[in-house]
């Protein structure tokens, strides 16, 4: 039986916009197992990214509980949450979010600055991560010297360099052409299959979603009734 990693119970999220309260998520209950690859789809404004942010501890629910590996992360302080994120979550963004002043290798090394690893070990980890995403020879290149696909690979290397169990991807192929998007999806699939990473991916692209084990549909802040297994 698959081991449960993430559990959301009655999670809701509201924002105050002036006098108006905007309900973004409503009563979300969800379980994700270790090694799962979950796609989150839905129209714009349906709350996909908000849900991803709650899973990653970037935001806190207005109500309900978010548990990861049995720990209620929604109750953690900002400092404890930052520490928890650095050890448990790898983020992949649509627009890569690499620091332009750092080379690919230094961008990948960023999360390791939060560890107590010595410089030599950090370098080993960076080389391994870059090799894994097929960009070892581009280590000294700056983001502006890389293509969109290569930038996303660097972002994925950064997400996995500290070996977190969970990868949260927010439209990782949204800014890429079809062929490059397929390469990125194949890479995520490899990380899921060969390295056991649990992946939750927000996407608009049905083709990208087809790489997931199961796809959840969000609409107006509520989860759709029938998750659809596609692969």
């Amino acid at each position: 039986m698959a081991e449960q990693l993430i559990r959301l119970t009655g999670v809701g999220k509201s924002y105050r916009k002036g006098r108006e309260v905007v309900r973004v998520l409503d009563g979300i209950s969800l379980e994700i197992n270790k090694g799962d690859f979950v796609g989150l789809m839905g129209p714009s404004g349906s709350g996909k990214t908000t849900l991803l942010n709650l899973l990653g501890g970037l935001d806190k629910p207005t109500e309900g509980v978010v548990e990861v590996d049995g720990r209620a992360i929604s109750a953690l302080s900002p400092g404890a949450l930052a520490k928890w994120r650095s050890g448990n979550i790898g983020f992949v963004f649509q627009f890569y979010n690499l620091l332009p002043v750092l080379t690919a290798a230094r961008n990948v090394a960023l999360p390791l600055l939060l560890t107590s690893l010595p410089a030599s070990r950090r370098k080993q980890h960076v080389n391994t991560a870059l090799r894994l995403v097929g960009l070892a020879e581009r280590a000294s290149h700056y983001p502006r010297e890389l293509s969109g696909g290569q930038e996303q690979r660097v972002a994925i290397a950064r997400a996995i360099v500290s070996d977190p169990p969970i990868l949260l991807c927010d439209e990782p192929t949204g800014d890429l052409d079809r062929a490059t998007a397929d390469e990125i999806m194949a890479l995520l699939q490899q990380l899921n299959r060969d390295y056991g990473k649990t992946i939750v991916m927000v996407t608009h692209d049905p083709r990208a979603a087809s790489f997931a084990h199961r796809v959840l549909h969000l609409d107006k802040g509520e989860l759709g009734a029938a998750p659809e297994a596609t692969r």
């Binding site: 994120r85 620091l99 230094r106 600055l113 939060l114």
Partner: protein, 386 residues
């Protein structure tokens, strides 16, 4: 890659902007150091203890008016006076250089009253034995390239010799150091007897008296006693400490301290605005990246420290270099204009500390407001920032 690399790379994100900001910092702290040095020299802020204990008695109306030489014995007789001597204003210049201070004095008395004047025994003896001899402070000797044994012509704008010439020739018998860098450092001392005999008029008069109390009376009482001695005489006196007199003299150029302080304040304020704007812009450009760093697990505290370190790196090394260059500039000016600034040009510990405090104020004042504003935002808001 370590955290310093991250700070360093961010500092050079826009190299031209960084270089120009550093140049602005360089200019302001160079100016700060030079102006502080000038202000210190012109306001005699580091005046020696001896100067604060020695009394100077001049004509009540003006220093340029003369006093009878007979006053010396009357002052010496007063209760509470340990020693008294006199000096006069020679008002001479060497070649076409600006006027500098030469005092005809009674050598042994004057040296006894001014222990901060350090002169070798050989030079002292040579001077005492040569009525036409003179000794000079090292800044003067350095500026004019004088050596012991040189005969130097000094043209007085007041005193003509009995033969009608206003050019006086003196033989340099010694070069002295003023260990306190005080009021005597840039002075040339001549023999009063020789001067008084040779001058064409006003013989038997002196410029002012220098005296020292024996400690039995408070200085204020002693000053009052000296002036009371000559009250209602044709030449009444005004007595003050030498330090107060020197400051009064410096202030004839206007309130230099205030002028320099105003210039400094304006310059520093302008640079603070420029640097502050640059740093604030640099931080604003990186708000999104702060969101990325927080997403990766960096805390607000660590991002704050990284940004503050960047601000310090932008200002402190260049500021310290600028102060060192300013110090060099003051040393150069000291050599070139030693006679104008007899106490030498330099800055004291207080000014160095004030400079460092200004550097901290500029770097922290420009970094803290934008970074604190940015870090008050939550991660989602930071990431949404373009």
């Amino acid at each position: 890659m370590n955290r310093f690399t991250l700070v360093w790379r961010n500092l050079w994100r826009k190299p031209i902007r960084t270089v120009f900001t550093m140049l602005a910092v360089l200019v302001v702290f160079f100016l700060f150091t030079v102006l502080e040095g000038l202000r210190g020299a012109l306001t005699l802020s580091d005046i020696s203890d001896e100067s604060q204990e020695r009394l100077l008695t001049s004509h009540k109306l003006s220093l340029v008016m003369l006093l009878p030489v007979a006053y010396q014995s009357r002052i010496a007789r007063l209760s509470g006076v340990e020693a008294v001597s006199h000096a006069s204003w020679f008002a001479g210049r060497y070649q076409d250089n600006p006027e500098f201070a030469q005092y005809p004095v009674v050598a042994e008395e004057y040296l006894a009253l001014n222990p901060e004047i350090r002169l070798s025994d050989a030079h002292r003896q040579a001077w005492l034995e040569n009525r036409g001899g003179a000794i000079v402070g090292r800044p003067v000797a350095t500026q004019y390239g004088w050596q012991v044994g040189d005969r130097v012509p000094i043209r007085s704008s007041i005193w003509t010799r009995a033969n009608g010439s206003n050019v006086w020739e003196f033989e340099i018998e010694g070069i002295f150091d003023d260990i306190d860098g005080g009021v005597n450092a840039g002075v040339m001392l001549l023999h009063y007897d020789y001067f008084d005999e040779a001058r064409a008029f006003s013989n038997g008069t002196v410029g002012w008296y220098v005296s020292k109390g024996d400690g039995s009376l408070p200085l204020e009482d002693l000053m009052a006693a000296i002036d009371a001695e000559f009250e209602n005489s044709p030449t009444e006196t005004k007595t003050n400490t030498e330090a107060a007199f020197a400051k009064e003299y410096a202030q004839q150029f206007g309130n230099i301290g205030l002028i320099v302080t105003l210039i400094l304040t304006a310059v520093v304020f302008m640079i603070l605005l420029v640097t502050g704007h640059t740093m604030a812009q640099s931080v604003r450009e990186r708000i999104h990246e702060m969101g990325v760093l927080k997403t990766l697990g960096f805390t607000s505290g660590s991002i704050f420290r990284l940004t503050v370190l960047e601000g310090l790196l932008l200002v402190l090394p260049v500021g310290i270099l600028a102060m060192a260059l300013g110090w060099g500039g003051l040393a150069f000016l000291s050599g070139a204009l030693g006679a104008l600034f007899p106490a030498g040009l330099g800055i004291g510990t207080r000014s160095v500390l004030m400079g460092l405090a200004l550097m901290l104020a500029i770097s922290l004042g420009s970094v803290l407001p934008p970074v604190i504003r940015a870090l008050r935002l939550d991660i989602i808001a930071l990431l949404r920032t373009a």
